[in-house]
Symmetry: none
Subunit: 203 residues, 4 copies
Amino acid sequence: MAPRPDVSVQRTQEVLEAAIKVFARMGFHKARMDDIAQEASVSKGVLYFYFKSKDAIIEALLKQIFSRSLHIQELLQTEGSVRDHLLDLTDTFGHEVQMMKLLLPVAFEFYSLAGRNKTVNEFVGNYYRELINSLGKLIEQGITRGELRSDLDTTQTARTIISIFEGMTLLWILEKGKFDWLDNAKNSITQFIRGIERCPYQT
Amino acid sequence: MAPRPDVSVQRTQEVLEAAIKVFARMGFHKARMDDIAQEASVSKGVLYFYFKSKDAIIEALLKQIFSRSLHIQELLQTEGSVRDHLLDLTDTFGHEVQMMKLLLPVAFEFYSLAGRNKTVNEFVGNYYRELINSLGKLIEQGITRGELRSDLDTTQTARTIISIFEGMTLLWILEKGKFDWLDNAKNSITQFIRGIERCPYQT
Amino acid sequence: MAPRPDVSVQRTQEVLEAAIKVFARMGFHKARMDDIAQEASVSKGVLYFYFKSKDAIIEALLKQIFSRSLHIQELLQTEGSVRDHLLDLTDTFGHEVQMMKLLLPVAFEFYSLAGRNKTVNEFVGNYYRELINSLGKLIEQGITRGELRSDLDTTQTARTIISIFEGMTLLWILEKGKFDWLDNAKNSITQFIRGIERCPYQT
Amino acid sequence: MAPRPDVSVQRTQEVLEAAIKVFARMGFHKARMDDIAQEASVSKGVLYFYFKSKDAIIEALLKQIFSRSLHIQELLQTEGSVRDHLLDLTDTFGHEVQMMKLLLPVAFEFYSLAGRNKTVNEFVGNYYRELINSLGKLIEQGITRGELRSDLDTTQTARTIISIFEGMTLLWILEKGKFDWLDNAKNSITQFIRGIERCPYQT
DNA sequence: GATGAATGAGGATTCATTCAT
DNA sequence: AATGAATGAATCCTCATTCAT
């Protein structure tokens, strides 16, 4: 007889997706377990079967959100100039931002939490540290190849690029998506690259 | 007999400052009115004498935080190149960030709220809209004076600069102030300026 | 497995009965939700599961108290003289008053509320309006049949009878049930009937 | 030097009148000391100078309201038939009711309180006991003079008359003064007198 | 495994009362 | 005497969590 298929993984994911929707709509605090249960079309008991507590759901969400990888590692292996790689990365990031539009207030709630909660801080911090690290290697490569100025601080430069992405996202949220994230970010990155290139690209 | 001196303005401010400390430490939700009262060394009743509700305190805080003006207007009137002005602005912003270190998680909580609360969105949105607007004028001036490339989109460029500031602040929070905001931001802005200058500055 | 039986109707009624006892003992204001919960032998949460708020309990009570019908409609269909009907009604009313002894202070609290709360006024007002209306029809019947004087104002006469019942109840409360409601009210009604009869009944 | 005139009596009365207005508008519970102070155009401190507590104000009000005397004693000394005296009394009562329109919800609040508070019960109870007593003497007089039937129970008859007054007042409140108290009550009393007269009055 | 009724700790808010000025 | 800012006990209500069915 075939064993009952294990639905736990799938069910866990369903609950998590419901939680995302509800948290995005109401914030961590205002969202009630009942809301999540209803959104997931399960009983409240089920929530507690898959997650120890509301905080556990939030923590699982934290891990889910800050585990998206920006394939920078792959970019490093790929053919192409740093300029192309960075614009490519902007594209990727931009599409993610637009897909995660609903999730962004949740992300900011995590940033806020990161200021006072160790677990959140470590997780989010690690995410960005790795991002900066990877990006730093891309910058390094650019310097080595002679595409970028040799006096650049790789970490600082990487931070600048991430800052542009994150800051742009904040402004985009505040203006409720009224401007084109991708258009503006590409412009930002293009200008910035020009500033760090060895032989500034001529328009 | 001398009438009791009017302490209402001062007391309101004291309460607000206590609230800032407590909110920064615990977040809007976890902070109890008792905590704020204790921090302000007054009784709970006093809070309700000066503010209608917890939300009213949060709203007052919102207005206080997002009313700091970055004296960009003044910069526009001042002698000096756009490059100098932008670096000057970076200085100002950086000092504010460092002074408001405790407040930053609160700011992020507002960013999160801005995604779903109209009042917050309008207030924070306006703040940044004005900032971008003013900064846009500075960029415009730079173009007119021939310091900056004439093909720049002033609004997009302004957004980029704000993004760098805000994104850098986020990273700074996440790394718990482990890197030097001012140092990194100045580097970012310097490189970016180089990318938008008409005749790139030679190091 | 058998589903848990639906106890909601029963539980609602239990809560309401506990509320009546507590309100009668302490009045609407002094009665705490905890008191009601304790009286009903349930937790406070249960109260809020079945009722939105304390006011909602009070409103439900209002409806319960002022929905008792005095079977006047039936009397109209029944054989017998108006005199008999009215004495019968007095009996009915008297037994209700004695059964609701505990409830009477609550009723007076509603009368007081009726002076300033629209919902309460409408509900209680309707109750008495219908009562007067039905009683008016009984009086009308009496006139038609030639039992009562033909110059009677039916509405005013109905109001008088209700007034006797209600006023007697007030005095009975104030004297803490020291006199016999039924005895006195029957006397009142007997005398009053004599005053409105076409051919005064001879004792 | 003339001593400062004693304003305490007058001031006390002013406060009490303000309290009546506020209590009538909001009920005992919802009325705040601030409301009373504002209505009386004095500071809250003054309230506590003249009254020990909110309850003390309510108690003073109780005494004020239930001390109105219905000059029945005088009627007993006066010329005239019992019929005339009772109609006269109805007039007096009716005018009082109309003057105290605002106060009536307060009266009902006292009736409610009387069911569970000893002080209130005693005070209101005494008021009605005296009223019934006096009225009983009037009835007695009527019997002695041969105007009323000799088989009447004086107390029960007195209670009936008070019941009509009080019950009519309740209905009048509930119908928001839409009918004419005096008209209806006179009708009630006229009919009732006919029922208790020795030689029924011929219309 | 699933359900959702029940629990009760936690926290915002109100307002009678006090008392320094 | 008068004021009204300050106090804090009292109480409503919410909702994460449990557990009997």
